[in-house]
């Protein structure tokens, strides 16, 4: 064979290279703190056009709702609870989309290649994204509360009487916040599982519709399956100012396991094991 024989190194110890100090890998350095990962994820929410408009839309729609109610609503409907409740409806559509994009853009735009190279402990990235999504949800609720408060003040000043009523039950506020969190987390889970923006968004919104059609057409589904397995159906009792019953909580827990916990768990499990493409 024409391969050159290995060069025999002289046994005399030659001086180690002194001109250049070769560094090695330092495994004792501090890692990236979670706060920094969350900061970067929060930045990702708003540093693309789609993300920025989604976030702005939450504020804009809330402002429009306040204005619209002040102009057209009956005096007795101009209460804090009503305004807050109404604003939660568009937010409930926008937050899951935000959460889906936060996850799926790493695959669709392939930024995951950089994200998971800079932080190879992937579970930390998932946690950072979850925290970011929850921060966004809290932010959305605060925006709704803020606009609701301004609207209520204005309603009281302009219309007087029954308008401008501040009463809101603790149950009402808790339910509203909880539903926002569920919407957001379900979107997050769908994003983790499906990894494709369009498919995840479509499925997220289509599945409740499919449930209601099935329940409409097949009585057996309506009577035996829907109450336990339809997550959006199980959430309906929570769209009120009253505390839900134990059975309703059980419906929520079971359907939530099917549509939130399981997809999230499978999605995370896949992310931790699979290739990042």
């Amino acid at each position: 064979m024409n391969a050159t024989p290995p060069t025999t190194t002289s046994s005399t110890v030659t001086a180690a290279p002194t001109s250049v100090a070769y560094e090695t890998i330092d495994t004792s350095r501090p890692g990236i703190p979670m706060s920094r990962l969350v900061k970067v994820e929060l930045r990702k929410l708003v540093n693309t056009r789609a993300g920025l408009w989604l976030v702005l839309a939450i504020g804009i729609v809330s402002a429009l709702i306040t204005t619209g109610m002040l102009i057209w609503a009956n005096d007795e409907d101009l209460t804090f609870g009503n305004m807050f409740g109404l604003m939660n409806i568009p937010t409930g559509f926008l937050l899951p989309v935000l959460a889906i994009l936060l996850v799926t853009s790493e695959w669709g735009q392939r930024t995951g290649l950089v994200t998971f190279t800079l932080e190879p402990r992937r579970s930390r990235v998932v946690v950072a994204k979850l925290i970011t999504a929850l921060v966004a949800a809290v932010g959305a609720v605060l925006v709704a509360l803020g606009f609701g408060a301004v609207g209520t003040l204005l309603a009281g000043a302009i219309h007087g009487g029954p308008a401008g009523d501040w009463s809101m039950t603790v149950a009402g506020l808790t339910n509203a916040v909880m539903l926002q969190f569920f919407a957001l987390l379900t979107g997050f889970a769908f994003g983790m599982l499906i990894r494709n923006s369009a498919a995840a968004i479509v499925l997220y919104f289509v599945i409740p519709t499919i449930w209601s059609i099935l329940a409409e057409v097949i009585p057996w589904v309506r009577e035996h399956l829907q109450t336990w397995a339809d997550f959006s159906h199980a959430q309906q009792p929570f769209q009120s100012g009253e505390w839900a019953t134990g059975t309703q909580w059980a419906h929520l827990a079971v359907s939530g396991t099917i549509w939130l916990i399981i997809p999230l768990a499978v999605g995370i499990w896949r992310l931790l094991r699979s290739e990042v493409k």
Partner: protein, 325 residues
């Protein structure tokens, strides 16, 4: 014997030369179903040198680099950086600069934003972003454009800026010269040369021999998942044999065979290449009365030949694409 192709250019690499291996790939195998994308690959990269990872498209270069960077799990074997697995390196961007795909960026973010996010993640001062933009010659206005409007060359520059952001001592770059014009390749050569002479370690891949020849000091050649040659550029280019050319190649071939030189294979430009010495070839041709047009040591031709053969093997299924390229 490894490789399986007719030629062998194995040269011992690594341990005997200065510096201990910084990147070490040991018996790495990655299979997808029944397909072996990377097949028992072993090589090292030492500090102070630019190691070129050369192979046709689909040879397993990217998969190997992805395993090194912890993005793809290995089926068997191991890849370590100074003895550590990539995933165990804390804040790895400050110690290992990785560019795996310059186009894997959110098209809607500006180049500056991409670097700012990297700096934020690694905990670097913001001025580092401006320094890196300047280093890769992306102007202020270019840096404020969205990546969607970048040419491939600009994306590569941005990717290199991102890899260098955390001031790492090791660089892993997948096809970084792809999309760069000749001036850009020249620029990258200077950049990586300086980086290596400061003691840095560079592993860069390419599917183009001339790119690697320009930039790298050491070569690892891969084809169909297997290493087929490795060594310093000088060693590989030296081990080349003789190039000979005549008007009548058939007569020349017969003349060589008559003289006992049986390993001659057709080379580019209608000549032949053999492992025999030029002197023996010249005598053989003279004895048979075959007039020669050229007779010389085939500098680098061996490597080129082998690389062409590798490329031809992988493109056999796709001849039209090969012809169009």
């Amino acid at each position: 014997m490894r490789g399986g192709s007719g030629m062998s250019l194995m040269v011992s690499v690594g341990a005997s030369r200065e510096g201990w291996p910084m990147i070490s790939v040991e018996r790495l195998t990655k299979t997808y179903g029944g397909f072996r994308a990377v097949d028992d690959v072993t090589f090292t990269c030492r500090p102070g040198a630019v190691t070129g990872f050369l192979g046709p498209n689909g040879a397993g270069k990217t998969t190997t680099m992805r395993v090194i960077a912890g993005l793809t799990p290995a089926t068997s074997g191991d890849a370590t950086i100074a003895g550590a697995h990539y995933r165990d390196i804390p804040n790895p961007g400050t110690q290992v600069g990785v560019l795996l795909d310059a186009s894997a960026q959110h098209a809607g973010r500006t180049g500056r934003e991409v670097l700012t996010m990297g700096a934020l993640t690694m905990g670097l001062p913001r001025q580092r972003v401006d320094e890196m933009l300047e280093l890769v010659s992306l102007s202020r206005s270019e840096s404020r454009r969205r990546v969607r409007n970048y040419s491939l060359g600009m994306r590569q520059r941005l990717g290199i800026a991102h890899a260098l952001l955390g001031d790492p001592r090791i660089l892993i770059l997948d096809e970084p010269a792809n999309g760069l014009d000749p001036a850009g390749i020249h620029w990258m050569r200077g950049l990586l040369r300086d980086y290596a002479s400061d003691g840095g370690t560079v592993l860069l891949s390419s599917h183009l021999l001339h790119e690697v020849e320009v930039i790298a000091d050491e070569l690892v050649v891969i084809g169909q998942g297997r290493i087929v040659a490795q060594g310093t550029k000088a060693e590989l280019l030296k081990a080349a044999g003789t190039f000979v050319k005549a008007d009548d190649v058939t007569a020349l071939g017969a003349a060589l065979e008559a003289a006992g030189i049986v390993d001659a294979v057709p080379s580019g430009d209608g000549g032949l290449r053999t492992e025999a010495e030029p002197r023996a070839v010249g005598h053989a041709a003279a004895a048979a009365g075959v007039p020669l047009l050229e007779l010389r040591t085939a500098d680098g031709a061996g490597l080129e030949e082998m690389f062409l053969q590798l490329t031809a093997e992988t493109q056999r299924d796709d001849l039209t694409a090969g012809a169009a390229a």
